[in-house]
Symmetry: C2
Subunit: 383 residues, 2 copies
């Protein structure tokens, strides 16, 4: 199959920052792309060959879009799976497959999947409705504190909440959900596994994630994780087992907990380019977006090793600012060594909205971490 | 000045591969761009915010285009300078300046500029018309062999020819030109200097260029150049002197000869992102396109050091093939370590046309050179 400067068409569902960064790679290879997103000025609007405004959860919109491409992928899980299944039946190559997506989209199903495949994960209880949690609390089958997760459409901290008292339950939506035991973990780790249509598999190094205390968003991603080599190896093996179980095509980001006694528990997965892999644009021989593209097109996968240490800082909207975005002190961070800002192109900021990220690369990871701290404390996303 | 996700407008004259790679950076920063190019499907057409089809040598077209931007730059020297001068007078920031461009556009003027500034360059003679060369040959003021260069619009080997006999002169255009003594050189080297509107100056490492024997196009660019440290230092200093003399803003690529007795002679310069700097996308902390952008916007310049060794192989159309392009054996080169193909997106190939390039990065530059050789011998641009 000719992909380069040819008539081949790649479809991408979702036109956000992940799609935008994927488009850098399709442009590099001169691969024709069609993108669908509901947003009039989605970050992907520019740099794709054709942009279609459409509802990603609407069967007809997704189906009509998919019929006009040779390979279909997505940058967000919240898409109409029935349409993907229909397209797959009708011969459109959909990667990752609707089957994979279905299991991952629903967090309750995802947890059951781990149990079925003997993949270590935090103990949990499944509820058809949030209101049923009260009964389980009363008969003490679950205890405070615990983590509440809505089964559907959890994203960027929405749909996840730590519950310490009855009152914390009040403002939760009454939906299908799970409750998870709070794991007293040493570290949150992630490994991105990539699997091509040809069955070739590569894993990226283990990264270490530092979360924002209140917003439940990643603040720093550090590659390589500053952990014991044995623990890193264990995390890699667990990630590979998860990947093997899903038999996905393309990227699978596996988020894990390192417990106090160095066990690895799978937290959740994402079948797409992932925030924990953004550092790879500057640090890796092959970045995650190019790797995903290679994988779904059946091209040879590239090297996932790092040229240098990399740290990623998320740029999120400051609390107390909503409206037309301004990036304060950009010039100050650009003076620092090995600093690359990525501005996603969202015109409006709001508290904790992901507006961009900054990558800090350095041969010395501790030096990179120092600079990352400076970046974090200097740049402000305001309005 | 706010550049990021703001109303600021950057204008780029020329929509070829250099502009295309510059647009990766404007997208990364979410900077609004307008591009003008005569080609209906120029590589820049996608990924800029506004595309204008227009003749770059036409005063009105360039003037009208320039009036609608805050900062104007170009990716090709062959643009209407009078229009740039008018725009500059009327307050549009034009980088590099029309004054710089004027001296560089005309190779005869360029050579005289070096003489005026005591910058070492190959001995040359200037002719108003090619036909006048015959007289100088007869009265032996010049001798075979020599290099003929048209004063205007030399690009990609067009406008340059080695002259060994009278008959070599036959098919040359009768235009303003220079003849240059053939320099028996050890190496062709290049140094890219960057100078910001704030006067900050950085230089990239010295690279070594290997030319195609007949097509007079670069085949390999090797960074760092495998030469004596003293010679490299000398090349850096000469490049800085050239940059200091031009007082340009943005990138200045300085091509030089290393003579048999290790003198450095300036061959020619280009005031824009340059083929000899493409390796920097994968190998450098800050690639040349991002650096140019930082420079013309007055942002702090980034580090020009390399993460790893880098080699660039030009992808040019095979002899004997003209028409709809096909890239043969792409998958084979993508199997090799640290190989990144860049496909410019030109739909039609013809002999020696620049269709793309491939970067090979490796911690060991000799290993990279081996792989580059494989790449060169494997991939074929055909129709």
């Amino acid at each position: 199959m000719d992909y380069f400067s040819s008539d081949f068409k790649l479809g991408i569902l979702g036109g956000g920052q992940l799609g935008k960064m994927l488009l850098y790679e399709t442009r590099k290879y001169d691969i024709f792309t069609r993108v669908m997103d509901p947003g009039e000025d989605a970050p992907c609007r520019i740099a794709c060959n054709e942009f279609v405004k459409g509802d990603l959860m609407d069967f007809d919109a997704v189906y009509r879009f998919g019929k006009k491409v040779d390979v279909l992928t997505f940058e967000i899980e919240n898409v109409n799976v029935s349409a993907l299944e229909r397209l797959e039946k009708e011969g459109v190559k959909v990667y990752p497959s609707p089957a994979t997506l279905k299991t991952i989209q629903n967090k309750a199903k995802q947890k059951l999947f781990y149990v079925d495949h003997n993949i270590p994960t935090a103990p949990f209880t499944r509820f058809a409705y949030t209101s049923e949690i009260l009964t389980s609390l009363k008969n003490e089958s679950i205890r405070f504190p615990f983590v509440w997760k809505s089964a559907q459409f959890g994203y960027d901290g929405r749909g996840v909440k730590v519950i310490r008292t009855y009152s914390d339950l009040d403002d939760l939506p009454n939906v299908e959900c799970i409750t998870e035991e709070m794991i007293p973990f040493k570290n949150e780790l992630a490994v991105i596994v990539c699997r091509s249509t040809e069955g070739q598999v590569t894993t990226y190094p283990v990264v270490e994630m530092e979360f924002h205390p209140t917003a439940n968003q990643v603040e720093y991603v550090v590659c390589p994780a500053r952990i014991d080599a044995k623990v890193a190896e264990k995390a890699q093996l667990v990630a590979l087992r998860v990947s093997e179980a899903y038999k996905h095509v393309g990227l699978l980001a596996v988020e894990m907990f390192q417990t106090q006694n160095n066990d690895i528990l799978v937290n959740e997965v994402a079948p797409r380019p992932h925030n924990s892999g953004h550092y790879s644009i500057e640090a890796s021989y092959t970045n995650q977006f190019e790797q995903h593209l290679r994988a779904i097109l059946g091209l040879p996968l590239g090297s996932t090793t790092s040229k240098v240490g990399g740290i990623m800082v998320n740029l999120t909207g400051e609390e107390g600012y909503t409206g037309k975005v301004k990036y304060r002190n950009m010039e100050d961070i650009m003076k620092l060594d090995g600093v690359t800002p990525h501005i996603y192109g969202k015109k409006e900021t709001r508290p904790f909205r992901k507006m961009g990220h900054v990558t800090i690369v350095n041969k010395d990871i501790d030096k990179a971490r120092e600079i990352a701290e400076k970046v974090k404390n200097t740049i402000k996303v305001v309005s």
